[in-house]
């Protein structure tokens, strides 16, 4: 049985209207059903392209724009084109079911979760001194109060292990039950890979698959998505997704400038995913729709590579990146709303990547979500890379999973990374 909900006429009409409405100037009404949106209507060509892309993302009809190329650009035609596309199931990827759907065979859930941060708490003013920054640069400008760093006896592996073992305990599972381990890190350099090392240290079964996933700050979302795909295709029954990022060992004052290096902390997270039917007591959060993409325009805004003499070659256009990050994460949240039918106003929490707290405040204001619904990670820990989302999600799950599914709202997850990679998901 497919868990995907069919797109009916009403839903398609709603998606079209929402995508067009967000491109309209304030105060402009929606055009009539036969009014060309571009020639006579209120959209210019760029707005039309944005609307088309929004419809493609929300419906999964990837060639909607091509189908519309020789057609009148009016609501009536757009709806007819989408209805025709729905009748060709190979061409469309319908969104996941809304939470009122009781039978969700094949849907996966988060049965266990945990996070860990470096034991050393370093005040932002000390970070400023360390990197030779003017007082207030990190604390006031970025809004970071403290960063968490590894203690002497800690490393990526120890933080990851702590998270993995706690997540397994929470799920009531044993490492022997895990048949796939997915690991991500933006700081782990070397072989064996992070996944292989965790596999050995956790004493996982030899038959447990290991995948190491990239994506930097989007890495955790990448891992969760792959886990969901494996579970729903029957390729795995219990998946452990782990992130571990220890920036303090790499982004030192001798290697990078402070405006960048001073923002980062050390942390890890872990999640146990399994099919919904396999979960024990309680109503675990289920993984819903995922969205990903890459806006290559911003690829040059952040570049990091190892150069000669063990230095880091860094290109960091802070302002450009900040604007792009806020804009794109806002777009991700909007696209998720369209795709899933879930409204951000109903959300219990937003587990977001947090480049720094000031950007989080800006994003919250721009997208109209209360700051208290965003678990604050960067304020006390710094930017944890892929683990930022992980730690935030872990906090959100801890806060909200005790409630029944009827009492709680969805959790929106969104992240952006160098490239500009972006990703998002909704958990029900």
């Amino acid at each position: 049985m497919s868990y995907r909900q069919p797109l009916d006429q009403q839903r398609l009409r709603k998606i079209i209207e929402q995508c067009v409405r967000r491109e309209l100037q304030p105060g402009v009404d929606l055009p009539g059903p036969d009014e060309d949106l571009v020639d006579d209507g209120p959209l210019d060509s760029m707005a039309w392209v944005s609307a088309v892309r929004g419809i493609e993302v929300a419906t999964g009809c990837r060639d909607f724009g091509d189908r519309m190329s020789d057609q009148p650009r009016c609501f009536r035609t757009m709806l007819a084109v989408l209805l025709a596309a729905v009748e060709q199931p190979d061409n469309i990827v319908a969104p996941s079911p809304a939470p009122e759907m009781k039978q969700t065979e094949g849907v996966s859930c988060i049965a266990g979760w945990a996070s860990a941060v470096g034991s050393r708490i370093v005040d932002a003013s000390d970070v400023e001194k360390e990197f030779g920054l003017p007082p207030g640069k990190i604390k006031s400008s970025a809004g970071i109060k403290t960063v968490t760093r590894l203690a002497k006896d800690e490393d990526e592996i120890s933080l990851c292990l702590k998270s993995c073992e706690a997540a397994l305990a929470k799920a009531g599972s044993d490492i022997g039950d895990v048949d796939c381990l997915i690991a991500t890190s933006e700081t782990f350099i070397g072989f064996p890979s992070l996944g292989a090392v965790l596999h050995a240290r956790l004493l996982a079964d030899e038959s447990c698959k290991v995948f190491d996933v990239g994506g930097a700050c989007v890495g955790l979302l990448n891992g969760l998505f792959i886990a969901r795909c494996l579970l729903e295709s029957g390729q795995a029954r219990l998946v452990l997704v782990a992130s571990g990022d220890t920036h303090s060992r790499i982004l030192s004052p001798s290697r990078v400038k402070g405006e960048f290096g001073g923002l980062f902390g050390d942390g890890a997270s872990a999640f146990i995913l399994q099919p919904v039917g396999a979960a024990g007591d309680g109503t675990p959060y289920r993984l819903g729709e995922f969205l990903f993409g890459c806006a290559g325009t911003y690829a040059s805004a952040l570049r990091i590579s190892m150069s000669a003499e063990d230095r880091i070659a860094l290109t960091f256009e802070g302002e450009v990146l900040a604007r792009a990050a806020v804009e794109q994460m806002g777009q991700v949240l909007e696209d998720l709303e369209l795709r899933t039918g879930q409204q951000r106003s109903e959300a219990s929490a937003f587990a977001l990547h947090q480049p720094n707290p000031r950007l989080v405040q800006l994003l919250a204001k721009q997208v109209g979500v209360p700051l208290e619904k965003i678990p604050q990670v960067a304020v006390n820990c710094g930017n944890l890379g892929s683990s930022t989302c992980g730690v935030a999600l872990s906090m959100a799950l801890t806060e909200n999973s005790k409630q029944s599914a009827a009492q709680r709202g969805p959790i929106f997850v969104a992240a952006v990374g160098p490239g500009l990679l972006w990703g998002g998901s909704v958990l029900y």
């Binding site: 592996i157 073992e165 305990a169 009531g172 044993d174 490492i175 022997g176 039950d177 050995a200 240290r201 956790l202 004493l203 030899e206």
Partner: protein
Amino acid sequence: MAMTELILSEITRMDPGYCVIGLEPSEGKYRSIRPGPPFGHAWLDPFPYKRGDKLLFQLTPSPMTRPHVEDHRSTGVLEKKGQLSEAELLSCLQKAESARCLRDLFGCQVRLKRRGAFVVGKLARRSICGTEAQKVRLKWEARELRASIVLSSCETLPDLPVVDRSWLLFVGAAFDAIKGANQGQRLNRYLARRFQKGILDGRNHFLRIGLTRPVPNVCWLMVDTLFPFPRKSWLNELHDEQAI
């Protein structure tokens, strides 16, 4: 002939009976001595002593056969002089032969296979050594209790057979308690879940790892002693597990 008092530290399965090792005080530390029985090579049932017992022996060194340099001949147990608790025994063992990493266990390279590990007998300096493990995982497989271990050096030893008599008796008692089909699977579930979580997880574990006799040049690693010692009361958890 001089008498030697040994603290019994290992009683391990060695067909047709047991192999025992004891600790002799030596310059503020302890050294391991393996007293052989008066006849044959294995101590036979009934062997009424347990670990921690202080036993008196009359010992003579055996001809040196590397790596089992600890071997001694004995005339049997002459007297029981006292008894140490599990904690006291652990404290003594921690002052005996010990190593953090694989290389130092037996003074030579430990070669890992997908299942088990071995050394070349003539290259090893000793045949018993203690170590702290970060993580231990027990599994019943192919009719054997096996342990996978992560040492404090973060190296892994996969699937070593556990020959510790106490643990083997515990598994036997567990099987007696498990009625019905799929006993092996159910034992593994018990070892993996409640047992692992409550007993083995979350703390460092002290083990003593020993070597088999050379066959012909290869000595396989085994777990001779695993702390904590198993308790009868843990079998109650097995009943609870089944009730659930």
